[in-house]
Symmetry: C2
Subunit: 734 residues, 2 copies
């Protein structure tokens, strides 16, 4: 690991803490940053079949294998050839497939196999981030934070400012993308510098009937039979520097890439999963777990459930609407199922009572030693107080936060009003997310909105939000809504009718349903925007002061947490002893797991592997169980090539392990003990949704596509021999 920043005394002390391996890792829990790998129990890992040492995975000299793990549009992915070939999930490159699909040649249904390099299809918006350096910037960020004094809002702003400065300096050289991530809510800050490859091309995608086999029905489910894999290639300018798509570009030559294992995995095998997990909540205080369990997820379940019903009713009445709202419904349904899974899982895993018991023990442990009592005095109470304070405005903030999610028009109005507002400030003083470096991303989002636009349907969702706002308690009123919908508050008023008329006026008058207008308004000045009188913009402007107040509340809370959470982390680390990993934060991590089944509930046992036989058994010929004819035919005559597993008498399709993963791990390479690719991670089981709050030996299972299914598809179904050759898979021995 490259560390240009000299460790501070504090970081040194922390390092010692992290290395204080008091007890060997008792389980497969843990999402480990590369710089903590050395502290793991390598003899034990070796005994489980790991033939690599920590330096093989990550080192400062020649890099290490993990350099082959990249970030692809929020997914994880991996180089698998010296010519920049990248393996990831089908669902991670779906937009690229969609971009090239036409009515005549529907690549979504058909899949795509590039016959040559020239036939590889450019993916307009896809970006690959190749991590090159991780820099400890704790001292810089902490110094800035401390300079802010006691004001928690000022603390957050100072941390943001320091981060923006670090990022700006880091991105000065073109072709780089940088970010500052905090571990344990601010115990450490690290600057991640990645090469940003902007010419990404689709090499191979299976048909939708493979890549999304099982669709929403099987989403989060096991047993699974989804071939959720695809290949893209990274291209750079002939001089080796990242550049936009150009015919003259050449394949990027990564420093490291993974070899594919042709022999796959067996139950009990050790696997490593590397990638960019997004967010976990492993160290959340009980009061915050309680908030999530009893308020946050139930509220989401309720509101999303109602919105899904509204959109589905609109879809049932009109086939065109059905197409347009499909994506939104899918996203809401995912959030709804996630909320359900969280509530069920946090309950089943007993997270809340356990966290409460831990905190009681922790308090006793602190009190038992005067030095500890002095060092950690008040930290638990103060944390509790932060989360308790949140309650005062949470119903109001919940609705304000959801306003842009009610539809394409409110989302665009929010983005545009905020963007034009931030334009007035120098770049480094703008709100994160609204700097120059965000312009392309925001414009792309405004553009993408067009395909989801269904004004008559989303208007009803907005109306639902406004009706809820009218029912807020007296001390949490949204003043702007009360003003705009004053007639609804009069005694005896027909609230629903007033709200309906209001939203009808908004949608009748707004130009934001037109893509060109959205882009034009994004480019205009704040003054011109306000003068334009668009009613949706008017609504966003009216809500803005209260949304800004909410942001200030959020930032004040975050500032308090940035004060308290590092202390809380030190406390937990000191108390637990041994190896402790930080929560996921979107940065590179490794998890070590075992291929194993599970029992989701009494009387049910799940084996950890599925095969083509099970895939065929699910095939109905109707989506989402509509496997392509070539697959059905090839699997039907048991043309398994070299890819069958003898004891299963078929080609393995998906498998489970107890590796510690979360959202963002989609597309993660799954490695065997030799560091060879044996699969690609793409999902978790439903019982593991709540794993974000705590890894469970019983229920934490992630779902992967087996490399032998990938190779079988390329070899026996797609006949993609050049791709196989590039992957190092030659013709079978005679």
């Amino acid at each position: 690991m490259i560390m240009t920043d000299r460790p501070t005394g504090f970081a040194l002390a922390l390092g010692l803490l992290l290395l204080a391996a008091a007890a060997p890792a008792a389980s497969d829990e843990g999402i480990w940053p590369p710089d903590q790998l050395g502290a793991l129990d390598w003899p034990a890992l070796k005994e489980r079949g790991l033939a690599l040492g920590p330096a093989d995975l990550w080192n400062d000299a020649d890099g290490g294998l993990l350099r082959a793990v990249v970030n692809l549009e929020g997914c994880s992915a991996a180089f698998v050839s010296p010519d920049g070939l990248i393996a990831s999930n089908h669902h991670c490159v779906y937009a690229a497939i969609q971009e090239h699909a036409t009515a005549e040649r529907n690549l979504i249904d058909l899949g795509y196999t590039a016959g040559s390099r020239a036939a590889e299809l450019p993916a307009k918006n896809a970006r690959v981030l190749v991590l090159e350096r991780i820099e400890d910037v704790t001292s810089k960020v902490k110094a800035a934070a401390d300079s802010a004094g006691a004001d928690d809002l000022a603390r957050t702003r100072a941390i943001e400012r320091a981060s923006k400065e670090l990022v700006a300096a880091c991105e000065q050289e073109p072709g780089y993308r940088c970010s500052v991530g905090s571990d344990w809510g601010g115990l450490r800050y690290r600057l991640h510098r990645s090469r940003e490859i902007r010419d990404v091309r689709l090499v191979y995608a299976p048909p939708d009937g493979v890549g999304e086999y099982g669709g929403e029905v099987d989403n989060w489910m096991w047993p699974r039979h989804t071939g959720d894999f695809a290949f893209v290639r990274a291209y750079v300018a002939p001089d080796g520097r990242p550049a936009p798509f150009a015919a003259a570009n050449v394949p990027y030559r990564p420093k490291r890439w993974f070899a594919l294992s042709a022999s796959g995995v067996r139950p009990g095998d050790l696997v490593l999963i590397a990638g960019y997990p997004g967010r976990t909540q492993r160290y959340l205080p009980a009061v915050a777990v309680e908030r999530d369990l009893t308020w946050w997820y139930p509220r989401r379940e309720e509101v999303f459930g109602d919105w899904i019903a509204i959109l589905e009713a609109a879809a049932a009445a009109n086939p065109e609407t059905a197409v347009r709202v499909a994506g939104t419904v899918k996203s809401l349904a995912n959030g709804h199922k996630n909320a359900e899974g969280m509530i069920a899982g946090i309950t089943r895993n007993g997270v809340l009572p356990r966290r409460r018991a831990e905190e009681a023990e922790l308090r006793a442990w602190i009190a038992a030693d005067p030095a500890r009592a002095a060092r950690f005095a008040g930290v638990l109470d103060e944390l509790d107080a932060v989360y308790t304070r949140e309650r005062a405005m949470r119903e109001k903030d919940f609705l304000l936060r959801l306003f842009p999610r009610t539809g394409v028009v409110p989302a665009a109005a929010t983005t545009i009003t905020r963007w034009t507002r931030e334009q007035a400030s120098p770049d480094l003083e703008r709100e994160p997310g609204y700097q120059e470096r965000d312009r392309a991303r925001l414009l792309a989002a405004l553009e993408r909105g067009q395909q989801d636009l269904a004004p008559a349907a989303e208007r009803q969702v907005l109306a639902d939000l406004l009706r809820r706002a009218l029912e807020l308690p007296p001390d949490q009123r949204i003043v702007a809504v009360d003003r705009l919908l004053a007639p609804a508050l009069e005694p005896g008023a027909d609230r629903a009718a007033v709200v309906a008329a209001f939203t009808e006026r908004i949608y009748a008058g707004t130009k934001l349903t037109d893509l060109a207008s959205r882009v034009a308004m994004f480019g205009t000045s704040r003054r011109m925007l306000a003068a334009g009188g668009d009613p949706a913009i008017g609504l966003a402007l009216a809500l803005e002061p209260e949304r800004l107040e909410m942001e200030a509340r959020d930032k004040a809370r975050d500032g308090a947490l940035a004060r308290l959470r590092p202390k809380h982390a030190e406390l937990l680390i000191a108390w637990r002893g041994g190896r402790v990993y930080p929560d996921a934060n979107g940065t590179l991590r490794v998890a070590f797991g075992t291929v194993r089944g599970y029992s989701p509930r009494e009387a049910v046992t799940m084996a950890p592997q599925t095969t083509l036989a099970g895939l065929l058994a699910k095939h109905t010929g109707k989506a989402p169980f509509d496997a392509p004819a070539a697959l059905v035919e090839t699997a039907g005559r048991k043309d398994f090539g070299r890819w069958a597993q003898a004891d299963l008498a078929s080609v393995p399709v998906n498998f489970l392990s107890d590796s510690d993963t979360t959202g963002g791990n989609s597309g993660s390479p799954v490695l065997n003990g030799k560091g060879e690719l044996v699969g690609l991670n793409f999902d978790r089981v439903f019982e593991n949704v709540a794993g974000d709050y705590g890894w469970s030996p019983l229920y934490s299972r992630n779902v992967m596509v087996d490399v032998r299914f990938v190779l079988w598809m390329l070899d026996r179904v797609a006949g993609a021999s050049p791709l196989l050759a590039e992957l190092g898979i030659g013709p079978p021995a005679p």
Copy 2:
């Protein structure tokens, strides 16, 4: 078995066929009538743990154990004490519980434990049929059928007439209920004579949170944790004869009853299931399987799916409607899920290709022998032709048949118009189902309709049916609909609007939404009814001629089948050799099975037992997983009493076996090899829905409540010691 009819030469030959045990039973397939039990492989059954012989189960001298198996409102049930105590399913006595539930004392939620005989609650409409005699009436019915000559419609009418005469003679003595059932579609006819007990009282019902635990979510599912049991008692007049409820009535003293086993079952144990299975389709020709798989179930799935959506939308808009349509939605949802399960299961089990292959073999086998060729010539082709002919009018008939199912009003209109029509004929000439003996049942149905009445919602269902009728092909038009909705057929007409206006007029004008009017119209004459001008009656009258034509088509088909199916059965019996059982037809049967789990699909293994631990794990406190506090508390502190199974370390709740069951087996007593009650059957697994078309060793699993859960509930939760004492369960040994 009591046979008053002398076996004909034919029946004797058949008997020999049935006894020609060529091969030992290779599986647990088979739903055996009592008179075929002797032909089974008793040494093999003994080896599996059966300590009884065929005569222990059924004999003419002292009856046999199966005399304890009764019919309770279409369910199966069993005497479990010499004082007429009957065990069955909670869902089989649900109406009785509902009848006594009040807002203040909601017995559905609370359950009910009668503290004494006097506290047992009369169930107004419940009837218990105690089978006393099975009489072979083949020769009588066949003689009548043959006298009808070549006309298939006349043949059906002759069979109906002969059956009605047999039933009337059999029921001459008061207190009896009789029915004629045919085996193999007419190879044998048997008259079943049962004592009809009309004073049935509720003794014990668990709370809904036990008896219906899991509700619709777990319906057809495994693992299951439903305490679907209840106890009622049969009462008769002091002279021992059946009588309506009267305080002076005394408990009925059955000839036989089952002892309860306190030790339950283990995986691998032999079990016997006795009861009144309704209908199976084991010998259906391929052409009819194809009809069901590709047309009948898909059409039901589609239409019921749309109706559910209509009713759910209406329910979402209005809470009162929600309550009223709940039952109808539940019934449609059951039909919908059943159709889905049938399509999936018939496909998965490969019923159609196997049946086709069998028929090809069968044809070859017939052709290979001149005697066979002469005997069975044409039977397969003629059967095919019968089912092929059906297609000509099937879309029209499908809708005509569904008319009464569109709502309470169309159902009442259909019943009333038909009843008044049939009143004009002497009782024995009326349509079966509309004789004097059916009056009480029809009136009860008219009364029950009131709780499902939601005119604004069901009007839309009727509209859906009429819109479909307007889209029928030219050669299958419903003439009455075309006439009544002529404006909808004009070019450019807004069909939906015309249909909506028509149904609005019907519902605005009809008196059938009023219970008293329904009963009054049921009692009036045909002439008065027609003169009354009720628009819903008018619609039913308009449809009547075409519904009568449909009935004539049905009867002609049935007449043809009554000619062909016996020959087909002889063919199958001759070809298969060995033991062959007839399809279920609502008469007493026994199945022999093994307690065993299964694999519903690749990678999933189901154990055959669930316990209180799994019940508690499902408990969310929200319906349908809202177990009563007393249960949760008692199970939570592991107060298992004597009822735990050591290796499970808990009380077993439900279990699976591969016994051959179908609808009507609800409430069936499940016996161990000694003939002791070890459970009550209440459901099948989803994969076994299609078992009606063929028993499958892999997927045919029925779901039972374990007697130890029943006893644990009575002992540890309900504290029902008098009931336990009556069941022969004394206090535990000190």
